[in-house]
């Protein structure tokens, strides 16, 4: 069941906020876009297509998303970088339980010190979105990236 235009706009606003928080912060507000019980995975397309479960980031709760955020901010030694998300082709389908199955395309460009911008990752967001207290939130998201090979390290969530 396709979404009515108000719902579609609400879904797009969720992704806008998602990109804004990851790219410009505050990063610690990003986990609030997810349900307390959630499932966020960044997984190479090779694994996804073959049914192999290994994800390079796997968070099974909002708390685990917070743990990732805090590690990025305080424990992982990394070069400073800017990320810029482009999220397009957002399509939502209504579920019988009132939630939404959503597919979107993404492109993340990374800027490292003294380097030209490079494509860090390209792929799809396969999400399940629910309404919670009037807001839409992600109950689950698979970030399926098309190239199994990534340029050096993925530090921030995609």
């Amino acid at each position: 069941m396709s979404l009515d235009s108000a719902r579609q706009r609400q879904l797009e606003a969720l992704y806008d906020r998602y990109a804004e928080l990851l790219d410009d912060g505050p990063l610690e507000d990003w986990p609030a876009l997810f349900e307390e019980e959630c499932d966020y995975r960044v997984i190479p397309r090779d694994n996804h297509d073959q049914g192999l479960p290994m994800a390079i980031i796997r968070c099974e709760s909002r708390g685990m998303l917070m743990d990732r955020v805090r590690s990025v901010q305080e424990t992982i030694m990394h070069e400073p970088r800017y990320l810029r998300h482009q999220i397009t082709n957002i399509r939502g389908t209504g579920r019988a339980d009132g939630g939404i199955d959503a597919v979107a395309h993404y492109l993340v460009v990374e800027v490292l010190p003294d380097r030209l911008p490079q494509i860090l990752s390209v792929g799809r967001y396969l999400s399940r979105v629910v309404e919670d207290g009037g807001d839409l939130r992600f109950a689950g998201m698979r970030v399926v990236y098309d190239s199994v090979l990534v340029p050096n390290s993925i530090v921030y969530p995609l």
């Binding site: 960044v42 997984i43 190479p44 090779d46 694994n47 073959q50 192999l52 479960p53 290994m54 994800a55 390079i56 980031i57 796997r58 968070c59 099974e60 709760s61 909002r62 708390g63 685990m64 917070m66 743990d67 990732r68 805090r70 590690s71 305080e74 424990t75 992982i76 030694m77 990394h78 070069e79 199994v148 090979l149 990534v150 340029p151 050096n152 390290s153 993925i154 530090v155």
Partner: protein, 409 residues
């Protein structure tokens, strides 16, 4: 004519390393021949990746693409991924199942042993064309690799007569290899690959260097997974080519060993403790064993995350790190979930391993601007002996003792 490397070693020892070995393109070409096509056994895959007759995988030894295939009898063979006719890459996918490998160009076909089985129009068409009278199919089989299998792990070699695998690893390294690969069938969990802008040897150095682990890896130390004050060993084989770092977990608190680490996060408590929920699974009390096997493999057991990391050099300034994550076929669901969760620490986005890929880039950045200078490798002395502590670079020195011999440097 081959370009001559412009690198000389500054001393007779291995406590100093010339930076040219990370940057010189001619030396890199020599390394590919002498090290990756030399006498050693290179890791190429797991049997669990090609369980059925006809299954194959494509991987790299150094920069050479090779096919590892299981034939109809269940035997495993290795051959170069390059048609004997015009040099075209035979396999365009990294995994698959086939009876015959058919070149897309002129459809020469090879069996799972790499033997040439079919050449279209070999006798010509209507009496015209065709291969010369003296063309022998058997003379155009694909160059083959030696293959050895050790408890589910496949190694290959370009050498005509490589040593027995057990003798190659040496007694201690062989014993520890069989600690993780104990004969139980393995379960493939997936892959992750990174292109790291650094010289391939920096990856080996990193895993052979326990000195950095308690300093760089704030996450590891904060949660007590690796600390300089724990009972530990660094053990090499006689050649110095292979090494083991063996250690134990400690606690999340300050001690002598952490006072040198200014940024320990003593107040960092996980909001979801399931992220770190290690259980003992090996008979001994080591909780981390990192093994480096010349010329291209790291075997990782950190708590319950098990992975093979294959080093695939690209050029002097870059290598690919190809991870294969696995567990055991008899793992219950809970154990598999635990391994997958702990995978957050060790992957292309690892809370721990990202420190290493990031620092390797910075090392290459620094070195490549000053290739005529020399690095110091003197923590724990100048020798290459086994040690029972973590404050040492002995395994890095042992690696370079072997490297100098192989490279004639």
């Amino acid at each position: 004519m081959e370009n001559k490397p412009a690198v000389t070693w500054p001393t007779n020892g291995v406590d100093q390393v010339p930076y040219g070995i990370y940057t010189d393109p001619a030396l890199f070409e020599q390394e590919m021949h002498r090290i990756f096509e030399g006498d050693g056994w290179a890791y190429v895959g797991l049997e669990a990746e090609i369980p059925e007759a006809g299954d194959y995988l494509v991987t790299l030894i150094g920069r050479r693409s090779v096919v590892i295939a299981r034939d109809q009898q269940g035997d495993i063979h290795g051959f170069v991924n390059r048609c004997a006719h015009r040099g075209v890459k035979l396999c365009r996918q990294n995994r698959g199942n086939t009876r015959f490998f058919v070149c897309p160009y002129h459809q020469w076909s090879y069996d799972a042993q790499g033997n040439l089985r079919g050449v279209p129009f070999i006798k010509g068409v209507k009496g015209k064309g065709g291969m010369p009278e003296d063309f022998e199919r058997a003379e155009h089989n694909l160059p083959k690799l030696a293959i050895t299998r050790q408890n589910g792990v496949i190694f290959a070699s370009f050498a005509a007569e490589p040593p027995a695998f057990e003798a190659y690893l040496g007694e201690t390294n062989f014993r520890y290899f069989n600690r993780v690969f104990d004969g139980r069938p393995l379960q493939l969990l997936g892959y992750s690959r990174q292109l790291i802008p650094g010289n391939w040897k920096l990856m080996f150095e990193n895993i052979k260097d326990p000195y950095h682990a308690s300093l760089l890896h704030v996450f590891l130390v904060t949660f007590g997974l690796f600390r300089a004050d724990q009972d530990s060993q660094v053990q090499m084989d006689d050649s110095g080519a292979h090494a083991l770092l063996i250690s134990r977990r400690g606690e999340q608190k300050k001690s002598d060993a952490t006072t040198d680490m200014a940024n320990l996060r003593e107040d960092f408590e996980l909001q979801d403790r399931r992220l770190l929920d290690p259980v003992k699974e090996f008979p001994d009390d080591a909780t981390v064993v990192m093994q480096t096997i010349w010329p291209n493999l790291i075997v990782q057991q950190q708590s319950n995350t098990l992975a093979l990391r294959q080093i695939r050099p690209r050029h002097a300034g870059a290598f690919e790190l190809a991870w294969t994550f696995f567990g055991y076929a008899d793992d219950d669901e809970e154990m598999t979930r635990r391994r997958l969760r702990q995978g957050n620490l060790m992957s292309a986005a690892g809370l721990v391993s990202a420190d290493d890929s990031e620092v390797i880039k910075l090392a290459q950045d620094g070195i490549s601007e000053y290739p005529d200078h020399t690095g110091v490798v003197q923590m724990g002395g100048r020798g290459t002996e086994n040690e029972n502590h973590m404050v040492t670079e002995t395994a890095v020195r042992a690696f370079y003792a072997h490297y100098r011999k192989v490279m004639g440097l």
